[in-house]
Subunit: 450 residues, 2 copies
């Protein structure tokens, strides 16, 4: 499970074969690569930038260790002088990026790297791997937060995230996008995210009677018990919870909440609320869970189902309706020469870029323009910042909490129609006249040259 020593090998083989060819033909001039998302998946109208912190750490640590070089040697593909070169290779380039937690729209560069082409190319695989995953999850989680209309959400996804790394990153990125807590204890330790838990059906089943399970649990957690009431019959479970809550009250304690994890969540919550209220337990919270996503949360909000908070698991943790983004890392400039590709459906825009964001007088987001890095676009905010120079991080390294605050601030400035869970209104993004002109010019040149 220890990947720390050889993350440089976590790459596609062609990055290394291309690197050898560049090295052998002495093509070591600077190249600029641009990372962006080509298209929205269905029902997506915005993305949430995430993953930059892990990319910075990877670039700082980038190096091939002895075991990695031995393995590459054993592949019989690489020349000794190239392996010597790899041994000394470190990332010494420059990176510009949109900070984590800011909104991103399609075709906008989320980051751009400028470095000798071998360095800039070889890091592609890891960069896409992390930015794609973290942006994917932050974007999905943001939709859940919006749909829940102020009710607190807890990340419950660890058991069905795609592996260990995803489990940690999902906890990080759902918190970044406004979740309140996670069930993932290691993520709690690593990222300082509040951790939350209730109980499982197996706990209830392990006792002969449901109410005995409830009594045992509240004895261990007198201040912090949420009882799972749907193992056998949800309404009977609610009545048992009332009985236990009264026993607690008699001892001076208080039941925190009950959890419903199956069945018709909206109508069950109403019946359970009634049972609790009629027993004078209106301060006992109802926690909902069970395969929820933003579409379910929107329905529950619409129905005014009396939940106080929700656990959101699998479908958020794998971004079930859109488990990947069409994210690409493309060469846009080589040795000062803007370049592009024309592949069907995958054409690119040349040159080093900047994204300019316009707001109205009240601070509401109006539109973005993608332009050249060195353009000045009056009345706009330039989003890409220099975050690395000569291989060293520069500028602020915000905490996760600061990133979360920045996200919550910016999303409040986005039009409700663009935030819609279904069929969002497209946010206006266009190229500046200068960039548009450059693209047309290079496209013409390329077509004539080939």
């Amino acid at each position: 499970m220890n990947h720390a020593n050889n993350l440089a090998l976590l790459t596609d083989l062609y990055q290394l074969t291309m690197a050898q060819s560049y090295f052998q033909s002495r093509k070591l001039e600077p190249a600029t690569f641009s990372l962006f998302i080509r298209n929205y998946p269905p029902h997506r109208g915005y993305f949430v930038c995430a993953g930059l912190e892990d990319v910075l750490r990877y670039l700082v640590d980038f190096a091939f260790d002895g075991g990695s070089l031995d393995y590459l040697h054993s592949c019989r593909l690489f020349a000794d002088e190239f392996l010597d070169f790899l041994k000394g290779l470190r990332f010494r380039g420059e990176m510009w990026a949109i900070p984590e937690g800011r909104l991103l729209f399609k075709e906008e560069p989320i980051l751009e790297i400028t470095a000798p082409i071998v360095e800039a190319q070889i890091v592609e695989t890891f960069i896409i791997n992390q930015i794609n995953l973290q942006t994917l999850i932050a974007s999905k989680a943001a939709r859940c937060v919006h749909a829940a209309r102020g009710r607190a959400l807890v990340d419950f996804s660890l058991r069905r995230t795609h592996g260990i790394d995803a489990g940690l990153k999902v906890a990080r990125c759902s918190f970044l996008a406004g979740f309140s807590a996670t069930s993932n204890v290691l993520a709690g330790q690593r990222y300082g995210i509040p951790i939350v838990g209730t109980m499982a059906h197996s706990f209830v089943c392990s006792f002969e009677r449901e109410i005995d399970a409830f009594r045992s649990f509240v004895a261990s957690f007198p201040d912090n018990s949420t009882l799972l009431i749907d193992t056998y019959d949800t309404l009977a479970g609610a009545r048992s919870a009332v009985e236990v809550a009264r026993e607690m009250a008699a001892r001076g304690g208080r039941l925190r909440g009950v959890r419903i994890d199956s069945g018709d969540l909206a109508s069950l919550a109403r019946e359970v609320r009634k049972i609790l209220d009629e027993a004078g337990l209106s301060d006992v919270k109802i926690f909902g869970s069970g395969g929820l996503d933003e579409y379910d949360l929107a329905s529950l909000s619409e129905a005014n189902a009396p939940y106080d908070s929700y656990g959101v698991g699998t479908k958020m943790g794998v971004s079930a309706d859109a488990p990947w983004f069409d994210m690409a890392y493309k060469l846009v400039e080589y040795n000062g020469r803007p370049v592009l590709k024309l592949s069907t459906g995958k054409a690119t825009v040349p040159g080093k870029k900047q994204v300019f964001r316009f707001a109205d007088g009240r601070g509401q987001l109006e539109r973005d323009m993608i332009g050249l890095r060195n353009e000045e676009v009056a009345g706009s905010e330039a989003l890409l910042q220099k975050v690395m120079e000569h291989g060293k991080p520069v500028g602020p390294r915000p905490s996760l909490k600061e990133i979360r605050d920045r996200f919550l601030q910016e999303i409040s400035r986005l039009d409700e129609k663009t935030r819609a869970i279904c069929n969002p209104r497209p946010y206006p993004v266009e190229l500046t006249p200068k960039l548009s002109h450059l693209r047309d010019k290079i496209e013409e040149q390329v077509t004539q040259t080939q």
Copy 2:
């Protein structure tokens, strides 16, 4: 990125709160948990077991280190005597499992753990996390292999797998299910999987002319070059590849192949094949890629598109049409008492189990029965084997290559209609009369008790 020291914390908080409650109420009797998949996603008719090796390693290494205990202490949820208990806690239980690479059908236990309830419960999250991911990917990859009808497949998914761990496990599980190689260099090192690579569009773009890129690459890899020909115009690219192949032949070399990554893959391959054949280059292979999944591969096979092999990436690597399984780890016996839950849509079957597989006279798989662990079912093969006893692995630990061979052997025994990419015929699975009777009896008891 180093998770090795504190994987015990990679769990849901409720596993630890339940554990404290069990510990404090001295509930330390043995429990049996059963892991299974409740339902097929659309178009799935079978699963491929995978992930057991990582579970064995996790259980052997399971322990809370000092930093983990310090963190748990800081949460102010846990009693000191419970944290002392956790400090000494190791997994000392028993595990039965269906070996990796064997076929699995819905509701069949893929593994069962028997241990004191704290031990058996606390490991749930990691076990589901790994078995869900690896079985998911092996099952998806098996469909791709079937659809490709004998053409070799290469895993190209690393850049869009959900993080680092998933990238490694996808390489492992796609190879297990019959893929020939991966582009993932670290997976090549770790698992001994053959690694394969071609070139990227950026390589072509970094040269002023496409043909210069081709010449540079073949100079570095005279025996092992696959040229990417779709950066600007696929047919023009094919003609440039012909020119370079002739230059190589004049030097005594040979171009290995060309790759098409965009456009109408079937018709482009036919035109490219014609260009190559007319140039006397019928031994130059055509490699296809570009967002392929089993549905695309089936269409290309159906159309007899002249590809020799394919790169299969994102949609396999995230199992895009079914990015999670409805996999559950449920208590089925506590202290010798069979248990179940009745939650709506999530009812379980009690008792320690075994799966019995029946084949016809030619070895073709006919049907399975799920029965009690200690049943003898004549004429069938019992699938669950004891793989761990007193916390130590027992029995064979097959190599990845052996698991792959076992899978390829067993899948060849499964009816074509059950293997179908769309609308597969359900494979017959039923409960033995003994298990069926036990379920009815316990259900009645539970209903009366609560």
